[in-house]
């Protein structure tokens, strides 16, 4: 009985029940409104099967992930540099924080429009947009981590005359790591959402492109399929990559 309940919790049984109810409702509504407005769950599932067997799913997912890897990757690298600068200089920290506040309050749409003006209809649109949107999120987390480093531990490092690089490596980096991973977690989710929007303009691959193209040819079914793909990628990366990473770096707790 007890173990039965634990299994129920593990499988999120109540959630599954609600999800099943929603599926039924979806099916009924699909029948009522027709395939253009709301394709049935089975049709969507069949569509997913099609793009998996045709290989389209890998092609577009890879295109999207590559753009994210570049834009988000550069954002993470720059955030780490900002963290290092903040560790070395109080003034640098202040400047970085102020600029991040400005970046943080800028809309995705601003960057999409600007990137079209600057880069035309090219790969660099989604990459640039992803970069500009994820940079403040990741960097703000890293900076918070750097300023949250325990002064008393740094003082301990001083008394034992640890060199600057050693103090950075042994004290600052490990205590900032959880903040970095948390920032990357949120940042990656944002990157996927944002890059897909940016892919509506000017590129001929990627999940956003595939979704918009499906809409244009009136294949609503495939719009749902690509949305599903996006959700699957998000959940998989979050659980497998960031979940594992977060557990890994906190194993000393």
């Amino acid at each position: 009985m007890v173990s039965g309940r634990r299994w129920a919790e593990r499988l999120h049984l109540p959630t599954l029940v609600v999800a099943a109810a929603l599926l039924v409702a979806w099916s009924l509504l699909a029948r009522r409104y027709g395939a253009y407005l709301l394709p049935s769950p089975l049709a969507v599932l069949a569509g997913l099967g099609e793009i998996v067997t045709s290989g389209e799913v890998w092609q577009h997912a890879r295109a999207s992930l590559l753009r994210i890897a570049v834009g988000f990757g550069v954002a993470v690298a720059l955030a780490l540099l900002a963290g290092l600068a903040a560790f070395l200089s109080r003034a640098a920290r202040q400047v970085a924080q102020d600029f991040l506040a400005v970046l943080n309050s800028t809309s995705v749409f601003v960057w999409i429009v600007i990137s079209i003006i600057w880069f035309g209809l090219s790969e660099w649109g989604p990459i640039f947009t992803t970069f500009m949107i994820t940079l403040p999120v990741v960097a703000a987390n890293v900076l918070e981590g750097v300023s949250a480093v325990d002064r008393r531990l740094l003082e301990m490092g001083d008394t034992y005359r640890l060199s600057g690089p050693l103090r950075f490596r042994a004290i600052v980096v490990p205590s900032t790591l959880p903040y970095l991973v948390a920032g990357m977690r949120v940042g990656f989710g944002l990157a996927l959402k944002v890059s897909v929007v940016a892919e509506i303009f000017g590129v001929t691959s990627g999940i956003g492109y595939a979704m918009n193209y499906s809409r244009e040819i009136l294949a609503t079914r495939m719009v749902f399929v690509w949305a599903l793909v996006m959700i699957a990628i998000m959940v998989a990366v979050d659980a497998l990559l960031f979940g594992t990473l977060a557990r890994r770096i906190e194993r000393w707790r």
Partner: protein, 263 residues
């Protein structure tokens, strides 16, 4: 060098505290002069908030003095500048890095001494053994008790073979039993290693139990009220009573004397 309090002949003092004072918004330390011989176990006593910790931090070069000077083996200690001598500090909190094992925590501070990895490891293990942490080398701090963490902090302070070991109420966070055990341990380690120790506490019994010289400070702004050679010639109980009476006076003085406005 200006003439400090005269030290009789022969061995120059290990540590010389010369007319040291410190002001924050109000004067915290008036003027304290003190010489410590090599191998001394000095206890700084005084009411809470009288400036004991500040004095220790000045001696350790963690904080600048407003006036006066500190010298270790004749070498001035300047806050913010790495001294040539080795100073080990045990703080009120263990200040271990939570993401490093006890062994790695100790080995870390050996790195600036230029030992190779194997030697660091070997030395760290030796000192963890000395403080009774045999078998716990691979534990993370969160997995052991507060007393054991403080032991590890002591091992870390000792492993650099410090010219001077500073301890700032290191057992304040421990329960009474662990406190007693740790006092005996520190006394034993002091005897085995012969280090020069300056130990801050407000517990009279603790000081009488472990120190060879007891320095009673006055209420803020601190100066030396009494210097006691704890050589066992006076009955311990009488000494404890005396010191307790003194510290009570100082506590009352400190609480009665709110920082007076104006000069």
């Amino acid at each position: 060098m200006a003439a400090g309090p005269a030290t009789p002949a022969a061995a120059p003092p290990k540590l010389r505290v010369d007319e040291v004072g410190k002001d924050y918004a109000i004067p915290v330390i008036a003027r304290v002069s003190l010489t410590v011989a090599a191998g001394d176990f000095v206890c700084l006593l005084g009411p809470n908030g009288c400036g004991k910790t500040t004095l220790l931090r000045i001696i350790g070069g963690l904080e600048p003095a407003t006036r006066g000077a500190v010298a270790l083996d004749g070498e001035p200690i300047v806050a913010g500048r790495a001294p040539r001598h080795r100073v080990g500090v045990v703080f009120q909190e263990d200040r271990l890095l939570p993401w490093k094992t006890l062994e790695d925590n100790v080995a870390l501070v050996l790195q600036p001494l230029g030992l190779d990895a194997a030697a660091r490891r070997e030395t760290a293990r030796r000192y963890l053994r000395l403080v009774g942490l045999d078998g716990f080398e691979g534990y993370f701090p969160a997995r052991v008790s507060g007393g054991m963490r403080q032991r590890a902090a002591i091992a870390r302070a000792l492993c650099i073979e410090p010219d001077l070991l500073l301890m700032d109420e290191p057992f304040g966070a421990l329960d009474a039993q662990n406190r007693r055990i740790m006092q005996r341990e520190v006394r034993r380690i002091w005897r085995e290693t012969g280090r020069t120790i300056v130990f801050v506490t407000h517990a009279i019994e603790e000081a009488v139990e472990i120190g060879t010289r007891l320095v009673m400070l006055t209420a803020r702004p601190a100066q030396i009220r009494e210097l006691v050679e704890n050589d066992g010639r006076r009955p311990r109980a009488a000494l404890v009573d005396d010191l307790n009476a003194m510290i009570m006076e100082e506590v009352e003085r400190q609480q009665g004397a709110a920082p007076s406005a104006g000069a």
